[in-house]
């Protein structure tokens, strides 16, 4: 009889407690979200900010977004354009100039912009590239490193970044 009672109580407890998700696991899944389903690359280190790279056909768009898990917040910079040195897997290289494309609904304008774009046939058909640049962010010259499609996350465990759709 004791066994029966124990089984009944444990069954009830299990039924009542099921369906929960560990808050920590949930928090981690939420962090470092690429807002445009692109590839996040830390700007030198994760705390400074990220560059989200989005390659669509021959168009490359870079979004400057916040550091740590503030990747759904834009990080406008003063540059009107930026030079990006791109290297493909086959060794070919090219310097592309990305122009500021302010997001008007965000209240951005040239000189305070977080979106940069370039369209170039050099980008057509590629699925993998490395790129680098230098931009001034909040008065400090920062080095941009992009590894596409892996992302650039110095000092981070790979599982902490959840790019793409979530």
């Amino acid at each position: 009889m004791k066994k029966l009672i124990a089984i009944l109580i444990l069954t009830a407890a299990a039924a009542g407690c099921s369906g929960g998700e560990a808050p920590e696991a949930h928090r981690k899944a939420e962090s470092h979200k690429a807002p445009h389903n692109g590839v996040l690359n830390a700007i030198e280190k994760c705390s400074v900010g990220h560059v989200e790279a989005l390659l669509e056909g021959n168009k490359l768009t870079l979004y400057f977004v916040g550091g740590h898990d503030k990747t759904t917040t834009s990080l406008p910079i003063a540059a009107e354009s930026m030079e990006l040195s791109i290297e493909l897997e086959n060794g070919s290289e090219k310097i592309l100039v990305l122009d500021a494309k302010p997001m008007k609904l965000a209240g951005e304008k040239i000189g305070n912009c977080s979106r940069f774009e370039v369209a170039d046939d050099f980008l057509k058909g590629i699925t993998r590239f490395d790129a680098s640049s230098e931009v001034e962010i909040n008065g400090t010259l920062r080095t941009i490193t992009i590894h596409y499609p892996e992302g650039y996350h110095p000092g981070h465990k790979e599982h902490e970044h959840h790019e793409g759709s979530e």
Binding site: C17, M103, K104, L105, E108
Partner: protein
Amino acid sequence: MSFFKIVLRSLRQHIMSTVLAAFSIAIGTALLITVYNLKVQTQEKFESTGSGVDAILAPKGSPLQVVLSSIYNLEDMPGEIKWTFVKEVAKSDLVTDVVSFVKGHSFGDFHVNAIERKFFTEFEYKPGKKFSFVPEDGGSGRLFEKPLEAVAGAEAAKSLGIKLGDKFNPVCGLRSGAPVHKELITYVGIMAPTGTPHDFAIYIPLTTVYGMEGHSNKSAEMAENEEVRTVSGAFIKLRRIKVGSETMIHPDIHRLKYEIDQNKGAQFVVPNEVLPKLFSIIGWVTKVLTGISILVIVIAGLFLFVSMYWALRERRRNVALMRALGATRRTVFALTLTEAFVIALIGAVFGVITAHLLLMAGVNMIRAETGVMLSATYLTIADILAIPGAVALGILTGLIPAIQAYRLGVLENLRMIS
């Protein structure tokens, strides 16, 4: 004497414990069905109601507050956004329509929403369904055309006893005791019921609100000058694309949302993203209530077990006599198990009935408090599983007493009593 007559006579012999066991099973079953039913219905209702609005352009603040205010008329909006900004958003390729509104006024516990006229002519509160004033649909009158005209949602009209031609003074605020505007507004239409929270509001033309007596000069200027005009928010309809035979919202919606969310004064709220958060907030309440219901059912099962156990102990001589008169071990086993089965069945049937009586009271309360209409006759999987589940519990708890009855020694029990 037939098998079932013996069962009924036996149950009558311990009628008190039979009734109490059945009652406790009924309570547990009723609680479980009610909690689950309310959860399923509320979730379905909240999610389906928001389908008329793809997104809400709103001031910065809690997205949940925005949804509760703009769609469910349960809160005030967190602030204001510029009319010119709304028009900028309307230019987006991803946006097909925008309907601006101003909240913050009330009458008789109902929100008075100032809204653009196209809300009634273009907006679909459910796919393919627009608001109607046609008597065949249950409406009456017409849409407002002049500044001091209003239309009432079906439930607001019913609750306030509104008739066409009645007049009212809007209250400047959503709380009782707020100042009352001097403008006398006439009801010219009563909307046909939609089964959504839109039924629980009163609507006036958007620009009427700015010039009301008691508002600032700046507000009065907003009626004419669009450059300075602000609104509480705007409902947004998004462009759809065809995927196979189905249509879906354009996948680039997240880009628009990101762009607007970066604006210091505005945000893009998607009700279908916010509502799951609401349910995760109230989810723990459902879990606790479900846990309590399960606990009550478990206790009812234990009670049934104890009552069956003691009833058997008291009736050992009867069982021994039955055995002596030719009843097989299987027969007494089946008799005891059937008793437990009958008690559980009665409890479960009354539990289902009680659940729907509780729901009847609950849905009226929810409708009065939130404007969300639920049904007391709505059936869920809990209704379907309640009776077989309770019967299984009855059989499980009756198993040990039945085995004891099966093993009962005839001679020793006849001798012991005599």
